[in-house]
Symmetry: C2
Subunit: 218 residues, 2 copies
DNA sequence: TTAATAAATTAGGTTAGCCTAATTATTAAT
DNA sequence: ATTAATAATTAGGCTAACCTAATTTATTAA
């Protein structure tokens, strides 16, 4: 029972939306995530249910079965391993790797993820700080929180970002905000919730509330 | 004007069949190569003509336009670079790389082939001895001939094989016939055209006429 | 040159994966 | 509890890429 490329993308979307702590994975949320119409999503949810990769209930939303979860996690594993490859071995920047990994994650070969992982030296995190699922399905648990929820004057490290879009990542580059950087919240603006942060040493920059929600620290 | 995966495979098939020295690239030859029905091939040839990637004439067969040729050559370049990656970096054997490269050759990114080529140290040949097209479209010309056309007692080197199927390659492994091995034709059987060859030093093995046609030497 | 064989094409059909527009259900607000 | 808003579904349609079976066109052999 091999999955099509589209099916894999739906499973991954359901996995990701579920991870965001949403109480339910609704058809509209999936449609939004994939840029498809709700009608198309309903189509596909039927097919995935048929294949026993999800359970779907109009009001409770979609849930991955064990089998569906396993597949989704493998796609995520491949995606992140390929991102490391592109970044570490081919010198792509962190804003360039995601789109290519979207394609590479679908390459099908039983051995490839494990071989790639070994070749890369068993990396724990991808270029955006996201954890790479292990071969056995284990996923390092991170207890990082969004910068938007941090109180003033705490010194923290940027662990990961939850938006991999080139626009956002290049915005961070421009602000000299990078993974593993040490950061201190100096001020939170009342009127727009923007955050004034101090970057290692001297530089201070304002980050919008939207940006702060996507930057995770620990 | 991006190509679909299927269109890319058709262009590659037309390129390969053309390379075999066939006077024409017929619809049936393409159907044979891709494992599709002739009816499907006719469908696709219309679409490729529409897109100006080929010219097609019922009696003269299919010919790649400049644009079509450029695309086909890029696919071949990507295919062979990925084969080198899988072989040299991930430790796959030469009978394992082709199927995975069939998938990887379709990964789309402007920079990827060049970066991969650099990372691999600008290899000239893939694990089957086939030349890797350069970025500028140049392709090293090899003047190797099939072992089936070699006269007795000439000492030669195996440069490449024209069949990448796991079955054939594992057969060669079993016979201890490998790329770059030195080989001497000791005898050609009259009744079945099988070839008795001496492998570096002492070992002698019989290779069938079919096998000899697929082994190229120089 | 005609007949036989092989190649190409046409006709008609299927499936996956998308779409828009209309409708029905559910949830939230008044 | 109605009403309004939002979510989900249905109906109907489209395209790419395949198929089989029937037919037409070319090629080869007699
Ligand atoms: Mn990514
Ligand atoms: Mn990532
Ligand atoms: Mn190959
Ligand atoms: Mn090869």
């Amino acid at each position: 029972m091999l999955q099509t490329l589209s099916e894999e993308n739906y499973l991954k979307a359901i996995y990701h939306i579920g991870k965001l702590g949403n109480d339910k994975v609704s058809a509209t949320a999936i449609a939004e995530d994939l840029g498809n119409s709700p009608a198309s999503v309903v189509d596909m949810l039927k097919r995935l249910t048929e294949k026993k990769l999800i359970q779907y209930d109009k009001t409770k939303g979609a849930r991955l079965t064990d089998q569906g979860h396993k597949i989704a996690l493998l796609i995520v594993r491949k995606h992140r391993l390929w991102e490391v490859f592109l970044h570490d071995k081919l010198g792509y920047t962190w804003d360039e790797v995601h789109d290519i990994a979207e394609q590479l994650e679908h390459i099908r070969d039983y051995d490839l993820p494990d071989r790639l992982e070994k070749f890369l030296g068993f990396p724990e995190y991808d270029p955006h700080g996201d954890p790479i699922p292990k071969s056995n399905g284990k996923l390092p648990v991170t207890k990082s929180k969004p910068l938007s929820e941090i109180e003033v004057n705490r010194k923290l490290k940027i662990t990961n970002v939850s938006d991999n879009s080139p626009d956002f990542l290049r915005y961070l580059d421009k602000q000299h905000v990078g993974l593993n950087d040490t950061i201190t919240v100096k001020e939170i603006q009342g009127f727009d919730k923007s955050v004034l942060v101090e970057l290692k040493g001297r530089k201070e920059v304002y980050l919008s509330a939207e940006a702060a929600k996507k930057i995770f620290v620990e």
